[in-house]
Amino acid sequence: MNKRDMLKQDMISAGERFADAFSLPKDMVVNATLFHMVGGSELFVENFKGIVSYTCHSIVIKGNNVKYCVCGECLTIEYYSNEDMKISGQIQEVKVIREA
């Protein structure tokens, strides 16, 4: 991890602390991606940058500094708009891929 990344990490943790101190939503303060899952078949995603890859078995979503991998079967994107997206299918796991 270079100095720039370390600085960024420090800023994020500072933002988290700030959000905790003033009871503000963290996704707004640190620009974090918000996942809202309903059962095992529906997943609402907000505040993301885009799709990195899409197959029936996995969808990789680019967040702010990290990537998220939604794994499952018969995955479809029910809608994909500027604000949010909805993934449906048999979701098995949601993984966070931290960039080295």
């Binding site: 885009g50 799709i51 990195v52 890859s53 899409y54 197959t55 029936c56 479809t76 994107i77 029910e78 809608y79 994909y80 708009s81 500027n82 909805k86």
Partner: protein, 412 residues
């Protein structure tokens, strides 16, 4: 999330995306505010849906990402316009029909009375006529509450009323007072006078002073029982008169004259067998049938017709009565043929009529004491003269004749 009705109204396309950088294409669509939905992977290609208006914004994005898009299916209202344009008359007809239906349902086309036992339908119809409630009136012009009040005021024995609409039918629902209060009998003061001349056979008086006795001969209009009863003092002088309604059973022996005539010729309706049955339609006051056309082509016939019309009103959904009627007109042609009775037939017919008359008298409680019959033949037919001596109930009420005299006597 987009509403599917909005998608239908705006019109959407099912698009097949093919290429190596489909994810980039989706991201660029997102950046350019192009909404996509139902994105699913099918082998190497992706299927998705987008608004038809957004599809025109896609070509630059497709070029940049090196992907190809092809329309698989079109959905939504904008794609129905060419279909509607070709069948404009049909759709105009549907719209006009709906508009007319909406228009006619604002009026009353049927009236039904519910719950009336003592008050007849005719009385209620007269009431509605007085209140200017009729077929074809606008529903909004009727103040139901006010008319309910008027209905209760008009009919004293009506305890509850409800005037309401179901579709285009107006219901007049009433409840009547089943326990009617006894009406106080008002004493007017009446005599009983003879209906006809004859001899009194019996008289039983319940109220009043009898003026005749059994065996007396009376004339028509003579007082039989007087309603003014004299009150005497100790010196047997009339002090005053008390007024009653005279009541008595009086039987009189009186002659009854009977005469009946029969003509030797009599008409008989003979059907020719020519029948015409056809349908008709009526919209409001306009009647449509093919009978005038038929008369025009067949020529004016001198024969007569018996016409039976069967009429039905068009009803939608059980309650929406429309001013549209349909039915059948059944017309049977006939002519009148005159036949002549023989003398025996005339006698038989006259005797039959006479027997019926006697039977009707007996049913009314008249006792026949004596009867003489004479039949006379003349140029036109035959006459029957019957002289009957009968015992029957007599007497009809009339205002007291001596009343004013009584007052004057008392004043004197």
């Amino acid at each position: 999330m987009q509403n599917r009705w909005i998608r239908f109204v705006r019109g959407c396309l099912v698009i097949r995306i093919d290429g190596d950088y489909m994810e980039r294409f989706f991201n660029m669509c997102r950046m350019h505010d192009i909404d996509l939905w139902d994105i699913r992977k099918e082998q190497d290609v992706c299927m998705c849906e987008a608004y038809a208006s957004d599809f025109v914004k896609m070509p630059p994005l497709l070029r940049k990402t090196g992907t190809k898009a092809s329309v698989v299916k079109k959905r939504g209202l904008p794609f129905y316009f060419p279909f509607i344009k070709k069948r404009i008359i049909f759709f105009m007809g549907v719209i006009i029909c709906l508009a007319m239906l909406n228009y006619v349902t604002e009026y009353v086309w049927a009236i039904e009375y519910v719950g009336n036992l003592q008050v007849s339908d005719d009385e209620l119809s007269d009431f509605l006529e007085q209140e200017s409630i009729h077929y074809g009136m606008k529903k909004s012009s009727l103040n139901c509450e006010e008319k309910e009040k008027r209905l209760r005021e008009t009919f004293q024995n009506v305890t509850w009323t409800s005037i309401y609409f179901e579709g285009t039918k107006l219901f007049i629902e009433i409840k009547e007072n089943e326990k009617s209060e006894p009406v106080p009998i008002e004493i007017k003061g009446t005599d009983i006078v003879a209906n006809e001349s004859g001899t009194i056979t019996s008289i039983v008086t319940r109220n009043g002073v009898p003026k005749v006795k059994a065996g007396d001969t009376v004339e028509k209009g003579q007082v039989l029982v007087s309603g003014s009863v004299p009150v005497y003092d100790e010196s047997q002088t009339v002090v005053k008169y008390q007024i009653y309604d005279a009541d008595a059973d009086i039987y009189i022996r009186t002659p009854i004259a009977y005469k009946t005539t029969i003509s030797s010729g009599y008409p008989v309706v003979v059907y020719t067998g020519n029948r015409i049955k056809m349908g008709f339609a009526q919209i409001g006051d306009y009647h449509i049938d093919a009978m005038p056309i038929l008369d025009f082509f067949m020529g004016e016939s001198k024969n007569l017709y018996e016409t039976i019309t069967e009429k039905h009103q068009v009803v939608l959904l059980d309650n929406i009565y429309l001013p549209v009627y349909y039915g059948t007109i059944n017309r049977k042609e006939y002519y009148i043929k005159y036949f002549t009775y023989t003398e025996d037939e005339m006698k038989s017919k006259l005797s039959e009529n006479y027997e019926k008359f006697i039977l009707s008298l007996q049913e009314k409680g008249v006792q026949i004491v004596e009867k003489n019959v004479k039949m006379v033949k003349n140029s036109k037919g035959m006459d029957l003269y019957g002289d009957i001596l009968a015992i029957k109930q007599t007497g009809e009420t009339a205002a007291i004749q001596a009343y004013h005299n009584v007052d004057e006597d008392i004043e004197e």
